[in-house]
Amino acid sequence: MEKLLSAQERLLKSKRSRLGGEFRGKFFVILCAVIMISAAIAITIFLGTKGLQSFTKNGVSILEFLTSTKWNPTDKANPAYGVLPFIFGSFAVTFLAALIAAPLGIGGAIFMTEIAPSWGRKVLQPIVELLVGIPSVVYGFIGLTVLVPFIRENVGGLGFSLLSGMIVLAIMILPTITTIATDAMSSLPNHLREGSYALGATRWQTIRKVLVPAALPSLLTAIILGMARAFGEALAVQMVIGNVRDLPNSILDASATLTTIITLNMGHTTYGSVENNTLWSMGLILLIMSFAFILLIRYLSSRRKLR
């Protein structure tokens, strides 16, 4: 029967089925986009409402929550819900880690793009990619078995300390910073270099006075992305930082961060209890911080476009 259909009918039929496929295809990809949007919105709404419950339902004061240094939620008579030590811990390890990783990462990037562009990149690039591939628990485990005893014996303290957390995090965010900084340095137009060399500047002068200032917004983006990663990292830090509830006095003291307290207590507190709800509020702080990092990066990239 197929052959008896007129040419027009066949064309119409194929057009109809094509258009059907066209519609289905478009419907499918739009559905995928909608799923992504709803995932992002759902996370914000669910964690937002759940995170606010400790303030709205349990009557924990926001001010006390953010500014008190006393954390004692299990005390029956006089429970205290101050998370300042953990907020401080989170910021402290993040900044200290960035302090180590930023010079190393940017230095590595400059090595790859300026000092030894041909072979340096071939050697260092795969190394950085391999560092990305190591899972965070493995970093934590090595920190726990190598770094913590090393610090205990050679530097002092218990070994479980801000210092350990900071070193582990610095190594973890090093590849992030190096990769983005390398992209930033290598995307600089070549005439910047040539112009500077033509004026008789040495390589170091060119790097310091011309290239780094030109790439500065991108380099800052690299550092901030690294810090965002450090701020949200949980397990590796938890294994080495010691997890105490007091403010640390030195970098050799044990400390705790928002993420480590959440990891540690989420499993064994009753869902819906005040203590559990305050953990969700800490999660909300993490969420807000990750939004803040995004805004900061947006701001930097808008500055980059203006140039």
Partner: protein, 295 residues
């Protein structure tokens, strides 16, 4: 100090930095492999783990890791590739597209522990499933989706415009062009990206702590009924993965041979991730060669 000395010193410092980075990696790998290899044996890989006694293996954890990875990719790849196609082919510049980009950015920058908390709230408590493989896989989907979307979008944008225009000029509809011309051309890059993402998912632990749980029921590998509680294939059972296992034996474990189990597991984990990376490169270049017919 004259400028030439300063230049020499600076060069020396940069070389030192490069050496430090190399030394860090070399040290890490040396430690992982030297300490891990002596514990890896056929027995270690094929005996179930023990909660209290020494000599436990990682059979179930290894299986769980691969199984969760498989389920995650099963969910992520279609949605992610679809989303990537939308962003590269259908999205028009404007507010909506900007908003979707922001959403992807938000998803990709979320700390994995926050994704784990979201998973706990939605896939564990709200649905009432408890700790399940499916819940873990869905949490990892949130974690993995932005990567796949970005990879797909970049891969599609890298396809030469001529291909698409030639196809459209032949009167082929847009979707049919995507399906038969653009996607096959972008396939090698998408595959490479997906395998690299798989390596990341394989080592992820924080998102799984509260979604897939810290325990595995006694499994019977002869039971292939996916609805039975003892079947390894059941997606509604708790499952501790390898990465989670390393964390839990170190922080909450009671076994006396923590060091042995976690060294061995860490080595297995890193080797697996390495295999994923090498496979991604190898498959990518192989398909590239076949498609472009270069040698």
């Amino acid at each position: 100090m004259n400028s030439r000395t300063a230049d020499r010193i600076a060069t020396g410092v940069f070389i030192a930095i490069a050496i430090i980075i190399t030394a860090i990696l070399a040290g890490l790998f040396f430690y992982i492999f030297v300490n891990g290899f002596k514990y890896i044996s056929f027995d270690f890989l094929t005996t179930p783990s023990s909660n209290v006694r020494a000599g436990g293996g990682i059979r179930d954890q290894l299986f769980n890791s691969f199984y969760i990875l498989f389920i995650t990719m099963l969910i992520t790849v279609p949605i992610g590739v679809g989303g990537g196609i939308y962003m590269a082919e259908y999205a028009k510049p404007g507010k909506v597209t900007d908003f979707i980009r922001t959403c992807i950015e938000v998803l990709s920058s979320l700390p994995s522990i926050v994704i784990g908390m979201f998973g706990l709230l939605v896939f564990v408590n709200t649905t009432g499933w408890g700790y399940t493989i499916l819940g873990g896989a869905l949490a990892l989907t949130v974690f993995n989706l932005p990567t796949i979307v970005r990879t797909t979008e970049d891969a599609i944008r890298a396809v030469p415009r001529d291909l698409k225009e030639a196809s459209l000029a032949l009167g082929i509809t847009h979707w049919h062009t995507i399906k038969t011309v653009i996607l096959p051309a972008a396939f090698p890059s998408i595959l490479t990206g997906a395998i690299l993402a798989a390596g990341r998912v394989f080592g992820e632990a924080a998102a799984l702590l509260f979604t897939a749980g810290l325990s595995t029921p006694r499994l019977d590998y002869a039971n292939w009924n996916p609805f039975s509680d003892q079947s390894p294939l059941n997606i509604f059972r708790p499952a501790e993965t390898l990465a989670v296992h390393i964390w839990s034996v170190n922080t909450q474990g009671l076994i006396p041979d923590v060091e042995a189990v976690s060294s061995g597991s860490a080595a297995v984990l890193v080797i697996s991730v390495l295999i994923f990376n090498l496979a991604a490169r190898w498959i990518g270049s192989m398909i590239h060669k076949r498609i472009t017919a270069t040698k």
